[in-house]
Amino acid sequence: MTQLAKSREALLALAIVVMTGLIALRFPDFVTPSNLVGTFNDTSPLIILALGEMVVILTKSIDLSVAANLALCGMVAAMMNEAGLPLPLIILAAIMLGAVVGAINGLLVWKLDIPSIVVTLGTMTITRGVIFLISGGAWINDHQMSELFKGFPRMSLIGLPVMSWIAIAVVVLLGVIVGRTALGRACFAVGGNPHAAVYTGIDVGRTQFLAFTLSGALAGLTGYLWIARYAVAYVDIANGFELDVVAACVIGGISIAGGIGSVSGAVLGALFFGIIKNALPVIGISPFWQMAISGTAILIAVAVNAREGRRAGRVILRTAETRS
């Protein structure tokens, strides 16, 4: 099993290297260290969000509200900055607010058994509406943000911007949570077979709740990074980005049916996406192609994953799903 998972991630890593190589053949500038650092830095928000989404998908759920949550936390962070609050407090508040939105998703899934896709489709629109209400539809622009607020993610630290270091820290943190804690085990158990998980004493709903809260907290953190990086906050920021996040997970081999996936898969999936995104303008393809490419990537990845899953073994009995 681990062999198979390893090979899948190795395959994806190989695909990324080959793709980068092909681009480099025509456009050598793409693989200069500074450009690669830039590409990684641009992909950092996607990596962080994809990791949170991965934990949610592992538990047989999906979180479509991450992008809206990001926009809300970013807007609140920008407004707090306007009010002159200190940066550590702002970042903490963004993470907490994100966690609260995630926890609301989680509670609805846990306590009321509502399918996560419905819950998060709903909270996605509600959250966007709330941003409009608190901001009055106004933009917060570059000149309204303090230098430290904008500058912190861009500060260079041993050759990498702080935003990249934060992404790396999140990768390590998630590696520990998923691989070394009871919660991580529980996520796999819940997604792999919820009924068996119940009999081994795992609270399925509670695990899903924690996964959503974690995903929300990471979305909150990304919200601050995003707003500071692009130095603008408005209602429609990161609109549709939840699809990129899900796509990164699917490409990274995380099974949408739950229970299968890895941190390295999510990171590679996000990198694959980030490289395509950054390579398009270099190759000279209009950015309007990106949406169609995301869609195609999702479809190919899910088809490939399904085929691999089928090869793993024959399904003798389908798990009976309770319909309440």
Partner: protein, 333 residues
């Protein structure tokens, strides 16, 4: 799903009469809600009861409603199609392209519907032939279909549709009754018959309740699901014709977020999001509720994005409240 509970099934001494059952149904509740909204709105704004205003208000639900009918059947059968709004975008773009090449109006309509059918067929192939989960497939095609529109149009728009094309979205058949409203009513009737009066409809319910049992009882599950995806595609094409005709232009961002509205309408209509139950009259009533509420908010100058908060709350609320209610009932007994 969370814990293995023992389900107690009781057989009542006496069956409910059809009338008392009808009065306690979800649909009856929706009728009350429609009447309540009607009364509240007519007090809230003096412009509400104007027949021409009400006629305009029907546009708030006719196009989304057309998609909601096949979507309801799809959800009853245990699948979902999140790509409907993107199908509208692609279909509208195709019509715009044909229009720019000088195609006559009947050809435009045909192209709009044919593109919808093709998109539906693509979804159907991926879900039923390759056995992929419809949620992921249609999230992918949602991005792909609208993405193709963006490739073709970029930040441009198609405008200048012929004047006779405007009839589908702006025409009146008699007095205040629009062509779209007539189409909506006819489609509601057709889908009602299809779901509630044909063996095909029974198969849809059977598949939604237990796909394995349905397969073993001789229902061609994959074929039925494929037909439902095709129907959804075609109806998205029809909605695209109406919407494009009404707006008189095509942008890649056309009908953005409509998949959410359609799913909300279906769920508000009493359809179980997990499949197995739901009715067409319920969807029609839900369409009325959403249309009247949006219209009422519009008259009170509430911005569109605030309405979307309401739609989101509605979507979660209509699923959450019955569950909370039944939990309270269970605790009491």
């Amino acid at each position: 799903m969370t814990s293995p509970t023992v389900v107690q099934r009781q057989i009542p001494d006496r069956l409910n009469s059809p009338l008392s059952r009808a009065l306690r149904s979800w649909e009856a509740l929706l009728v009350l809600v429609v009447i309540a909204i009607f009364i509240i709105n007519s007090f809230a704004s003096p412009y509400f009861l104007d027949p021409w205003n009400l006629s305009d208000a029907t546009y708030n639900f006719t196009e989304v409603g057309m998609i909601a009918f096949p979507m309801a059947m799809l959800i009853i059968a245990g699948e979902i199609d999140l790509s409907v709004a993107s199908i509208i975008a692609l279909s509208s773009t195709a019509m715009g392209y044909a229009m720019a090449q000088g195609a006559p109006v009947p050809v435009l309509v045909l192209i709009g519907i044919a593109v919808g059918l093709a998109c539906g067929a693509f979804n159907a192939m991926l879900v039923t032939r390759m056995g992929l989960p419809s949620i992921v497939v249609t999230i992918g095609t949602m991005s792909l279909f609208r993405g193709i529109s963006y490739i073709i149009l970029g930040d441009q728009a198609y405008t200048g549709y012929p004047a006779s094309f405007a009839y589908f979205g702006q025409g009146y058949i008699w007095w205040v009754f629009t062509f779209e409203l007539l189409l909506f009513v006819l489609l509601a009737g057709a889908f009602h018959v299809l779901l509630h009066r044909t063996s095909f409809g029974r198969m849809v319910y059977a598949i939604g309740n237990n796909p394995t049992a349905a397969l073993f009882s001789g229902i061609r599950v994959a074929r039925v699901k494929a037909i439902l995806f095709l129907l959804t595609g075609v109806m998205s094409g029809v909605a695209a014709v109406c919407l494009t005709s009404r707006l008189g232009s095509t942008r890649p961002s056309i009908a953005l977020g409509w998949e959410l509205q359609a799913v909300t309408m279906v769920v508000l209509g009493g359809t179980n999001i997990l499949g197995g139950s739901g009715t067409i009259p319920g969807v029609v009533l839900a369409a009325l509720v959403m249309g009247l509420v949006t219209f009422g908010f519009g008259l009170l100058n509430v911005p569109g994005i605030v309405m979307s908060i309401f739609i989101g709350l509605l979507l979660i609320g209509v699923i959450a409240l019955p569950r909370l209610w039944s939990r309270l009932q269970a605790r009491r007994s």
